[in-house]
């Protein structure tokens, strides 16, 4: 069987990750073309009902390793490697996300398997999967094939659309896996700590996104003033969140949120892929950056090359005047 195996990540409350569910939908679609089935691996505390419920997205079989902790990659590598070998899966597919990268990479080493990262599309050619991957700041798209099975495909964030199929129920099988020595040498002390205040950016029609170009944490005052004038909210890149300039809840991109507001005003954001994947579906993108070579200008609808410390205050004033008048 040329099946496709997906890893479904979940939080501590048992909610599955949207990108994982998208990967299951994609795997089910591709498996149908290959005349095969999509399977899923889940680890940790997942109820029978929740596991079987993954059938709604097209999974036929869910391999559950109850005793294996969720949240770190290497134990999942142990589980997936065993399931791939025992059940003869031909491919492993991951939705975008940090853990998927790590698990996929670990499987590459363990199974001496080819891997393709940041995949935006997968197609079937001659009964095999071919992964499409944009490279060089998305200036070229490379079609990657696999010399042998299994092949590992790691999707870009939001690459795979979630679709609920016929609502069938998946068969749930428990798997016993002996973890590798080294997989037990990393231990989660605390998982999923939210830092900083909670802000809601997903429902805002207008977002002012701030990046390193704001210069320092205080630079966000400019973004907040403009967002206030526009009646929107402030979002941030991972770089500035990790640097402690703005709360995690406002972060867009690979390990943050995905948004699609009516207006995304990017202030001092270079537009790296990891950020782009979280906001590229915004209706209107306006970018202000002092670096004319910033990748953001390649997908912004309007770009301004200039100093945002000069432009933002004046723009805020002008918007206030317009709205007040």
């Amino acid at each position: 069987m040329a099946g496709i195996l997906v890893y479904a990540l979940h939080d501590d409350e048992g909610n599955f990750n949207k990108n994982s569910l998208g990967a299951i939908s994609e795997a089910a679609k591709l498996a149908a073309e290959l005349g095969a089935e999509a399977g899923v691996v889940v680890v940790g505390d997942v109820s029978d009902e929740a596991a079987a419920g993954l059938g709604a997205y097209g999974a036929k079989k869910v391999h559950r390793a109850k005793e294996v902790p969720e949240g770190l990659a290497q134990p999942v590598v142990d589980v997936m490697a065993k399931v791939i070998v025992d059940d003869g899966y031909s491919y492993a597919l991951f939705g975008g996300g940090l853990l998927g990268f790590e698990v996929g990479a670990g499987l590459t080493a363990r199974l001496n398997a080819g891997v393709t990262m940041e995949v935006t599309q997968v197609k079937v050619a001659d009964g095999k999967l071919v992964a499409e991957r944009p490279v060089l700041q998305d200036s070229a798209i490379v079609d990657v094939g696999y010399v042998d099975e299994p092949g590992i495909i790691i999707g870009r964030l939001n690459a795979f659309d979630l679709s609920e199929g016929d609502g069938g129920s998946a068969e749930v099988v428990d798997v016993d896996v002996e973890l590798s020595d080294w997989s037990t040498k990393a231990k989660m002390v605390q998982r999923g700590e939210a830092r900083g205040e909670d802000v809601n950016i997903e429902d805002a029609d207008i977002l002012v996104g701030g990046g390193r170009g704001l210069g320092k944490a205080e630079g966000f005052e400019l973004a907040e003033a403009l967002a206030g004038a526009l009646g929107g909210a402030v979002a941030a890149t991972r770089a500035v969140v990790d640097a402690g300039w703005y709360p995690y809840a406002a972060q867009i991109g690979q390990t943050g949120k995905t948004v699609a507001p009516k207006l995304y005003l990017a202030a001092g954001i270079s537009g790296a892929i990891q950020h782009k994947v979280g906001m590229q579906n915004s209706e209107n993108i306006l970018a202000i950056n002092k670096d004319p070579n910033a990748p953001i200008f390649e997908f912004a609808d309007l770009g301004v090359v200039g100093d945002l410390h000069k432009i933002l205050p004046k723009l805020t004033e002008a918007v206030q005047a317009k709205k007040g008048g």
Binding site: L9, D12, G71, Q74, V77, L98, F101, E102, V103, G104, A105, G106, T108, A109, N112, A113, G114, V115, M117, E118, V130, L136, A140, I141, V142, D143, V144, G145, Y146, V147, G151, W182, K185, A186, K187, V189, Q190, G192, E193, R195, D242, Y248, T255, K262, L263, P292, N293, E298, A300, D301, G303, V304, V305, G306, D307, K310, I311, K314, V319, K323
Partner: protein, 263 residues
């Protein structure tokens, strides 16, 4: 104890990156900078060494690449590494992620490090994955994209951002850790360190020196093949304004926003 820092050369940001049509490989001729993320890995190694909580005897910079990659090693040594190892062999050219990770693991194995540090990503392709590939080959625990690293009871206490917020993870040594740029502020090398870098020990190793199986590396040993390279779907480029007169720029922006009913 020994820390190995994996480093690599990447293209200068100003150099237009391209794929060579004949080989379907990235044209690496414009490469000359040490991957910025790797400078954070070296700084993290230096802070561990200077911190004294672990008895670090030496920090060794390791790279794989053509002859010119010694420049990355010189920079790594100028930033504080004690010596360096250069894995270079025509047989390694064209290696994919699977083959590269295997080759790097073999050269690291020959050094028996207690800790391997590397930058979490490079802007030339193999983003996020190499650390985890190397770790599984070396049978070591691993964590990628780490932004805080402390030592507690001989173990590493690490923090990183994952899908649901910040995770704190305790990792036993030996381990493979990739770091993000928020972990530290790399120091500037002193003039003396730059001048002295070329005098530090640099060992060159071929594939067979570190027991790399020839059929697992290079284009022949790679597990993926590039079938086609295509331009992306055409997207209409947006308008670009150079801000010369800010009042004028702001007027244009307001008009643009109004036109789209965003005010």
């Amino acid at each position: 104890m020994k820390i190995c820092c994996l480093v690599k050369e990447v293209p200068d940001a100003a150099v237009q990156k391209r794929i060579d049509d004949s080989t379907k490989r990235l044209d690496r001729s414009g490469e000359k900078n040490l991957n910025p993320f790797d400078t954070h890995a070296i700084e993290a190694a230096m802070q561990l060494k200077e911190g004294g909580e672990l008895a670090i005897d030496e920090v060794v910079a390791v790279t794989m690449g053509p002859q010119t990659a010694v420049r990355a090693l010189h920079k790594a040594v100028a930033l504080g590494a004690d010596r360096s190892v250069h894995l270079t062999d025509a047989a390694l050219e064209g290696s994919d992620v699977c083959a590269t990770g295997y080759a790097l693991a073999k050269v690291l194995e020959s050094e028996s490090p207690d800790l391997v540090l590397l930058g979490q990503q490079s802007d030339d392709g193999e983003c996020y994955t190499i650390g985890a590939v190397v770790a599984d080959h070396l049978k070591m625990p691993s964590l990628t994209q780490v932004i805080k690293m402390d030592v507690a009871d001989g173990k590493l206490r690490l923090e990183r951002q994952a899908e649901y917020g910040y995770d704190t993870v305790e990792v036993e040594l030996p381990a493979v850790i990739s770091v993000g740029d928020a972990i530290n502020e790399p120091r500037y090398p002193s003039l003396k360190a730059i001048m002295g870098a070329k005098k530090k020990q640099l060992d060159t190793r071929g594939a067979s020196d570190v027991s790399i199986e020839a059929d697992r590396v290079g284009e022949q040993g790679s597990r993926t093949t590039v079938l086609e390279i295509n331009p992306p779907p055409q997207k209409e480029g947006g308008e670009i304004i150079e801000d010369e007169d800010t009042n004028e720029t702001v007027e244009k922006l307001v008009a643009w926003l109004e036109e789209r009913k965003l005010l």
